[in-house]
Amino acid sequence: MTTVTTSTAGTTGSVGAAHARLEGRDKVTGAARYAGEVPFAELAHGWLVLSTITRGRIRSVETGPVLEMPGVLTVLHHGNAPRIDGNYQGMMGPPDPVIQVFQHDRVPHAGWPVALVVAETSEQAREAAESLVVRYEEEPHDVVFGAGSPGAYVPDSETPTEKGDVEAELASSAVVVDAEYTTPEEHHSAMEPHAAMARWDSGRLEVVDSNQGSMWVASELAKLFSLDPGAVRVRSEHVGGAFGAKGIRPHQVCAVMAATVLHRPVRVVLTRRQTFSLVGYRSPTAQRVRLGADADGRLRAVDHQALSVTSTVHEFLERSADAGRAMYAADALHTVNRLVRVDVPTPTFMRAPGEAPGSFALESALDELAEKCGIDPIALRARNEPAVGPASGLPFSSRNLLACFDEGAARFGWAQRDPRPGIRREGRWLLGTGTAASSFPSGAAPSTASVTAEADGSFTVRITAADVGTGARTALTLIAADALEVAPERIRMKIADSDFGPAMVAGGSMGTRSWAWAVTTAAADLREQLALGGGIPPQGITVRADTGAAVQALTQKERHSFGAQFAEVAVDVTSGEVRVRRMLGVFAAGRIVNPLTARSQFIGGMTWGLSMALHEEAVRDQASGGHVGADLAGYHFAAHADVPPIEAAWVEDPDPDDPVGIKGIGEIGIVGAAAAIANAVWHATGVRHRNLPIRPDRVLQAGTAAHGAG
């Protein structure tokens, strides 16, 4: 028994001070093992075979010759795979049928899983998989998406915002902007492709995975394979990027199937090319924004209509039109998200789903309105600052958008900006600056955590959090340290193990907020227990917390992070090249836990925004229905040389009524960044670019306002 020392230690201040990642050294030295490289005895390797047609039926899977190949153990396909049950409601609703692998002979899109070849080595599995002959009955397909796509509908999950009379307000507006914007199909492209090992161990299913929610994956696997929830354990120690794509995906299901059939551990790793059709993506969008304003820029009407794509087998809605629901005061507000179904894979959440493409359209339109009204873009936003949620009428928990613009304008030198477009030249480059607002909802979800006071005076925290590369493990350590009033070195932070109990996934910018809530609650309860005195038994004293009731009891408010994005660009209209020269983002995102990793998340998001503005675009071949150039040579994102100095800063954003005070920062960095760049391109050239990415051919063909099109 040791004596309790915590109640008098009184060490706080870990939160808010810069801390390097706890596992940083392991990661840069290669000591940290990722799911694709954890060794297991008797490990077999699975390789997926994907459909080469876009729509039709599998006529035959000619396994004979492949089973004769060296090392091949089995070929799973719709004719022999174990049956699974996809008829359930998971954490995110019903599962995408793409994870219900090998259950029927239908092919609903290109790159659909048709077989898994398992062999002794990864090389043997690949060789056999690439040799496997699959015969199809091909049917005509349609993969075309655009503003005029037929069959657009408002899905059941969508409730359009209808406030006031948009048409009447537009009709009586002195200034109207009515513009259409498009964003292309974009892919997460996490550095670490998906990988999972599954094995049975004493009647329990164990999965070593790379995911953003081990409890999420465990519960889905339990449902799919009709297992007791307690019979599945999923761990995900290190994750090389997730961005919304690393939930339940076909590779985990395949690994479990094969491990079940073969009675040995099986690992399935996706190739880069496979990730383009198996793990979701951001839908292309076609958006129309109409703004009506008085001559002084006061908004009378905001109408934002967004169209995105989904598959024929599952519904995912990219909520682009939601971007403006909490942004600006207007007498009339209308937003609606529509879908069109075609023969493509189902899209999914991708960093700032909805807000990323939606903010591009809305914040570009605001800039167009500022131009038409002859008002500074920041002044326009200030003029339309709402007192309460424009759609909901609810108060804001905190709203420091204008503080972000004030701070940003000062740092960026906005006051010196000449608003006239197309008049700054430096050699072959035309120069311009732009700005845009940014926001992202700040939600919380129930989570559980346990904190153990160990006999040696240290503390062990257990929570099914996920560190997808953000530094969550470190942030939670700092939070636990402050909650327990000890130095961070005395905290042992154990995460990403579904045995630790239910917790929010790393998603929706809700992870750290939700997990921190559970950890601080458990820590507070533990401190109360320890304050009663007495000693700590050898097994320690453990306290569990569940924030379910507390999250439920949270007052209904508009809860968002806000930000102001600034960009300076150089455009050569004779070659079409656009170079971003600098970016600045100032954010109001609650309490910043770890300034070091927070800055990385902000500038990482802003870099995504740059990449979205200028580079990223997955190209689909209409004839084959599949991608062209589905690899990192063909799918361009910003290279280092494209990324200029990026400055990220934040302003005070306190909310005394909030139990944790933390808002998410994983997504807001991308929101508005593409619009700021597009607005800067207009300022440089005098030409609006409403279709992303702003490729050289588009710039070249648009020319400058002075020279006209072409």
Binding site: T52, E123, Q124, R126, E127, E130, R428, T574, S575, G576, E577, R579, L614, H615, V619, D621, Q622, A623, S624, G626, H627, V628, G629, A630, D631, A633, G634, H636, F637, A638, A639, H640, A641, D642, R695, P696, D697, L700, Q701, G710
Partner: protein, 330 residues
Amino acid sequence: MREFGYQRASDVQGAVALLGADPGARALGGGTNLVDLMKTGVERPAQLVDIRELPLDRIETTDDGGLRIGATVTNSDLAAHPEVRRRYPALAQAVLAGASGQLRNMATVGGNLLQRTRCGYFTDVTQACNKRSPGSGCPAVEGEHHQHAILGASAHCVAVHPSDMGVALAAFDAVVHYETADGPGELPLAEFYLPVGTTPHLETALPPGALITGLTLPPAPVAAASRYRKVRERASYAFAIGSIAAALDVRDGVVHEVRLAFGAVASRPWRAREAERALTGGPATAEAFGAAADAELAAAAPLPHNGYKVTLMRNLVVAVLTELAEEAAR
């Protein structure tokens, strides 16, 4: 994995013997393109003959004042060579505009000439492609082709050659030297790449089993005032959507000599001889540069989504020649 033979050659004769003995053999230089294509199944050589140890890694001045460049000289060494930088600056610039430092350290001059197109249909074995699988069709013509050829293509293939280096070599009249079992041979770069026609899978005029041993660059005083400019869809690590190698000798406002070659517009580096003819002996003005570009690009046959390349190349001709003319005037 798919099995293949691997042998390392220690001299040119040995390498030629190995290459001649097996029609499925391929020479392995830096492997920066070939190995990638082997991984994806686009290239399936039965035998690799590693030529990196051959004594072909030198750059030497020729008696007439040109340069001889060995086939296994790395891109990095080529771009860094003082004589290349001094006499043919556009060549050094072109090499440095491609790939990354790590790749340039591996990639070789011979391999660069033989690299394959990056057309997304060619690199995806699930797609039809006349170059990879003769007779299967060219989906790019009706499909995704905004990066494809506007000059010299055919309905059978509209892919572009990806090399930056080759564009500068085309401008400077490089000659490719090779060795076969029957002895040495040479091909001017202008004859090295075959027209696309109906046989896009036949890319070069090299005899079967030939090993590229090096290049010679004839003396070209005009090349000392030369420039390579590459336009691509990101600032680094992407192939060109249009590029230009240009050299200009202006005397008293008159074009005495000019060299122009275009990249990323055709199945081979495109020497712009029409433009050169139009310019030579005429005024060194932006109007003349534009008219010369128009003369060259009159033969362009853009597809629905790559017409911008005509504008791009015209703009590049005017911009780069104007820069060179202004610098010469200083």
